[in-house]
């Protein structure tokens, strides 16, 4: 008979071991226009030594009826991680190199706050283990200068890991962006999204490019975000 996956336990040492930080000059780049939906990233993520058998990546069709477009989602590693900010147990740490680590097992109370709060929808609750799990940029690899598993295998290099200089040389028609506007919340991330070099700032929220007059109306005042084009 086929053997089923008996979910393996996390390495008990992984949270106490102090690994070298991820070198400053190495960055993560996502280019959804390159993605071919092959799921090599998902399969490779579950080969990572610290969480074998578990994938932390989501890859979805945008609308399969209309297009073959797929988008891979890995943790964006925010400068001010919302997941950590909302964690009542202080289980999510951002290390000095900017990597937002997965939840610490002894602290995580599986409350789901982070799952609900992340603007990118990254953390997932592993109900079997009562633990939030998310991408830590393959800390065991990246901290010793190796590419994370997903960016290693990605055959379209929609997920890429390297220096800014390499990316500029290899991809002259694109540029990295790492600032995102979600309503009034501006988020800067360690992970970059590649966008066409000559495109203006990508506008993801209508309010970000609106002029906000003081209307003197209690209901409406303060609803608009600060315009990206101001000052």
């Amino acid at each position: 008979m086929a053997r089923r996956n008996t979910r393996g336990s996390l390495n008990p040492n992984s949270e106490s071991v102090l690994l070298m930080p991820v070198p400053d000059n190495l960055e993560f780049f996502i280019d959804p226009s390159r993605c071919i939906g092959c799921q090599a990233c998902i399969q490779a993520c579950s080969e990572c030594d610290t969480h074998k058998g578990q994938s932390m990546i989501q890859l979805d069709w945008v609308d399969r009826a209309q297009s073959t477009q797929t988008v891979p989602v890995v943790c964006m590693h925010c400068e001010s991680p919302t997941c950590a900010e909302v964690c009542p147990a202080d289980a999510i740490k951002r290390t000095g190199d900017g990597v937002v680590q997965t939840a610490r097992k002894p602290r995580c109370i599986a409350c789901n706050n982070c799952v609900l709060a992340c603007p990118f929808g990254v953390p997932k609750m592993n109900t079997g283990m009562n633990l939030m799990m998310k991408c830590d940029m393959c800390y065991d690899r990246a901290s010793v200068g190796l590419k994370p598993m997903c960016a290693s295998v990605c055959p379209s290099q929609a997920l890429a890991f390297g220096t800014r200089e390499e990316m500029a040389r290899l991809r002259p028609s694109a540029r990295p962006a790492n600032t995102f506007q979600f309503g009034a919340q501006t988020i800067r991330t360690k992970v970059n999204i590649m966008i066409p070099r000559d495109s203006p700032t990508d506008i993801v929220d209508v309010t970000s490019s609106m002029y906000e007059p003081a209307l003197g109306c209690e209901l409406l005042d303060g609803l608009f975000a600060e315009s990206l084009y101001e000052g």
């Binding site: 071919i36 074998k52 290693s152």
Partner: protein, 770 residues
């Protein structure tokens, strides 16, 4: 100029019954899904060793490292230094290790026994070999040597393919050996030999990077050769225009610069139409045509009638898009044309490929940096496996079985009389027909699962059931092995060593990671054991793959596919060696550098056929244009069967699925075949996304769920072919074959589609992969 197309076997009007459900056999032998567990998910397990080798699946042959602990492969680690893929892998490469230490693995020889569980009982290996030898002897004595046939495969190492050819031709002395590359690379191979005199990728893949225009015809690169995607995207980053010819918007086509949604089976019309516009606008390299080619006028003559409007009418592509394609291609300074099975799986597959080659030759963009042309070889050793003598008309070194000089040379290497070598035999499908007609009584198969992979599979099953004696060598009980009288437990790729030749023509090393389990053993030992029991062990006493390779070097020497200068050490030192790589060349001609010959047809290059007369492999050194008359598919649509069926692959499965349908994470990715259809067609049929639909052809019927997407032509439906039994697309496909290459026409036949009366019988009984 074409001989008639062969369509069906020796069978009456009646369609054989649909495949049996075989539940008991599935319960015993699978396929079941394996997932990582135990040692494979324990974190902190330090592997005993990392073995640098290559993927066991497609022709890209990505380099990777296998992590081995206690004779078990526990995972993979990227091999960043291997230049072709630099660590990149597709999901199949990442999860391939789960085929090893698999619960379905055959650990013994098995004999058919109707009362045993699953229809087979284990028997001791030596007893099995004795019976194989006795059966071969009996059948060949009674019915003649050719009454015993061999079907081999292109996922075997080159050493094994060499041995299979030698075994058939020298030990069994049967004319009837062929291989499953017959379903894959042969149209491209035949066309390349006709146009260039050599069958190999003209360029290394690095030449894609600097191309201004990349034309991809009938190749779902993102799913079938995923690593090539990054080469295309990298070229695009530097401004390359990408043109994709396909009836479906594949993931690569989604963002291409020009998409040509060709009606399946009409490719020669398109390429003739492009050539027409190149001539009309004088987008030609006159110097190259005059100096390095012949018969341009023949090609031009056929292209004359292919005006843009007529081309549009036949191909179903907008005239404007055809004009744009011709302009992009015609005015480029550098370019790369890639094609695969979409162009080749046709009853005129060779003509299709030759028509594509015509526009390459007319452009003069070949044999230079960033100017390239290649088929994308499909199978793991699709290149090496088609070079050294397991094809029905072939001897090692790409030599011809019917050429007296070639026969004499190889006979000398083997120490036999040339007269003892058989003549050319039947192709793979013709072998099945001969079995059905009773002309072939016995069969040995290895690395081939024809019940799933051959077209008109109901006929294939009917034929196999008639065999007097059939022995299959396999590591799992494939759907075909279930028809065997004896099954011998062979080896997985990771259990043996040797070489393969990947898509670029680069010879690389497969390294052994683990031992065979149980009574299983390396395939070549099994073949030699049979030779020994037949009492004809002379020539079959190799003690290692390296010894076989050393003999292959000699046997290939002086041929077009010359490996004589290649050694295992040279391969390892240079991340592979590109053939041709002769050990000796005439005075004044330098032998190839450490990496062999990465790029063919360079202007001043020497080859053993032209001997300096020119870069192409003909006595005059010139490439051949061909006049390509248009002909449609063997079975066109009509009132009864109004819809075109085309078949192909998905990224998570490989070929007949004998391996990938046993790897849990890959099965979960795309669990079961679905019928892709356009919403407009679905609406006419009253079919919603996910509904059960019945697809019927003149040969069989198949009920699957729909996938309603606007990424396919509305007159065409697509079904991936990796599944067996009642889920098999090949119940529907037609066994029409190209008259030259004998490739079957998988890419177009006529069907009708209707909403199913209800779920099929198998729906509640089988797991997705079964």
């Amino acid at each position: 100029m074409k001989s008639p197309i062969t369509i069906s076997g020796n069978r009456g009007e009646e369609t054989p019954p649909a495949p049996p459900l075989d539940l008991e056999s599935i319960r015993t032998f699978g396929p079941f899904r394996a997932y990582a567990d135990d040692i494979r998910v324990d974190t902190g397990v330090e592997p005993d060793k990392y073995v640098k080798t290559h993927c066991c699946f497609c022709g890209q042959q990505c380099g990777l490292q296998l992590k081995v602990k206690d004779n078990t492969i526990i995972g993979i680690e990227p091999w960043y230094e291997f230049p072709f893929n630099q660590g990149m892998l597709c999901p199949k490469g990442v999860k391939r290790y789960l085929q090893q230490d698999h619960p379905d693995r055959l650990l013994h020889a098995y004999e058919k026994d109707s009362v045993a569980p699953g229809g087979f009982r284990p028997i001791p290996y030596p007893e099995a070999i004795r019976r194989v030898a006795a059966s071969i002897d009996r059948l060949q004595n009674e019915f003649g040597r050719d009454a015993f046939a061999v079907l081999s495969g292109a996922s075997l190492t080159t050493e094994k393919t060499y041995l299979m050819g030698k075994f058939a031709h020298m030990c069994l002395r049967t004319a009837n050996i062929d291989y499953n590359g017959r379903l894959c690379m042969v149209s491209a191979a035949a066309a390349n030999k006709k146009a260039f005199g050599i069958d190999r990728a003209a360029n290394p893949w690095s030449d894609i990077l600097g191309a201004e225009v990349i034309l991809v015809s009938g190749a779902n690169i993102a799913e079938c050769a995923p690593i090539t995607t990054n080469y295309v995207w990298q070229a695009r980053e530097h401004g390359a225009k990408v043109i994709v010819v396909d009836p479906r918007i594949t993931p690569l086509a989604r963002t291409c610069d020009l998409f040509l949604p060709v009606k399946p089976g009409r490719d020669t019309a398109l390429f003739n139409g492009i050539l027409h516009l190149m001539i009309e606008n004088d987008w030609l390299d006159h110097d190259f045509i005059a100096k390095h080619t012949v018969d341009f006028d023949a090609a031009a003559g056929q292209a004359r009638e292919w005006t843009p409007s007529r081309t549009a009418e036949v191909t179903g592509i907008a005239e404007k898009a055809i004009r744009r394609a011709a302009e992009l291609w015609g005015t480029a300074r550098t370019s790369f044309l890639l094609h695969a099975r979409g162009l080749e799986h046709h009853s005129h597959g060779v003509m299709n490929v030759l028509s594509a080659i015509n526009i390459v030759l007319a452009s003069g963009r070949i044999g230079r940096p960033n100017c390239g042309y290649s088929t994308i070889t499909g199978q793991g050793n699709g290149q090496g496996g088609r070079e050294h003598g397991q094809k029905c008309d072939q001897l090692p070194g790409g030599r011809d079985l019917d050429n007296p000089e070639h026969r004499a040379y190889v006979a000398k290497v083997w120490g036999i009389d040339p007269g003892d070598l058989p003549r050319s035999g039947a192709d793979a499908y013709e072998i099945i027909r001969k079995i059905d007609r009773g002309e072939i009584k016995g069969l040995l198969s290895i690395c081939f699962n024809p019940v799933v992979s051959l077209p008109d599979s109901n006929f294939v099953r009917q034929a196999l059931a008639k065999l007097d004696f059939y022995v299959a060598i396999d590591f799992f009980m494939s759907e075909t092995a279930r028809y065997a009288h004896l099954v011998l437990p062979g080896s997985l790729q990771e259990e043996d060593e040797g070489t393969v030749t990947q898509v670029e023509g680069r010879i690389i090393r497969i390294n052994k990671a683990v031992d065979c389990p149980g009574e299983a053993r390396p395939d070549w030992q099994i073949i030699q054991d049979i030779a020994q029991f037949l009492g004809r062990e002379r020539g079959f006493t190799f003690s290692s793959p390296r010894e076989m390779f050393e003999e292959l070097r000699i046997a290939s020497k002086g041929g077009v596919a010359d490996y004589s200068g290649v050694t295992y050490e040279r391969i390892e030192e240079n991340f592979g060696v590109f053939w041709p790589c002769p050990s000796e060349t005439p005075e004044g001609v330098p032998t190839p550098g450490p990496q062999g010959t990465p790029r063919l047809f360079e202007p001043e290059s020497w080859n053993p056929v032209a001997k300096g007369a020119g870069p192409f492999y003909f006595p005059d050194g010139r490439a051949r244009f061909h006049g390509i008359p248009y002909s449609g598919p063997a079975e066109d649509v009509d009132g009864d069967f109004p819809i075109i069926l085309t078949t192909g692959r998905v990224v998570s499965q490989f070929l007949s699925g004998n391996q990938t349908r046993r790897i849990g994470p890959l099965v979960d990715h795309y669990p079961e075949p679905r019928v892709e259809m356009h919403p407009r067609l679905a609406s006419r049929l009253g079919v919603g996304d996910g509904d059960w639909v019945t697809v019927e052809s003149r040969r069989g019927s198949c009920t699957l769920r729909s996938l309603v997407v606007n990424t396919i032509r509305p007159d065409t439906v697509f079904i991936p072919y990796h599944w067996p039994g009642r889920k098999s697309a090949n119940q529907l496909t037609i066994a029409a074959q190209d008259p030259i290459s004998k490739i079957p026409e998988y890419k177009v036949c006529a069907v009708r589609v209707r909403k199913a009366d209800g779920p099929p019988e198998y729906a509640g009984l089988l797991e997705p992969q079964q």
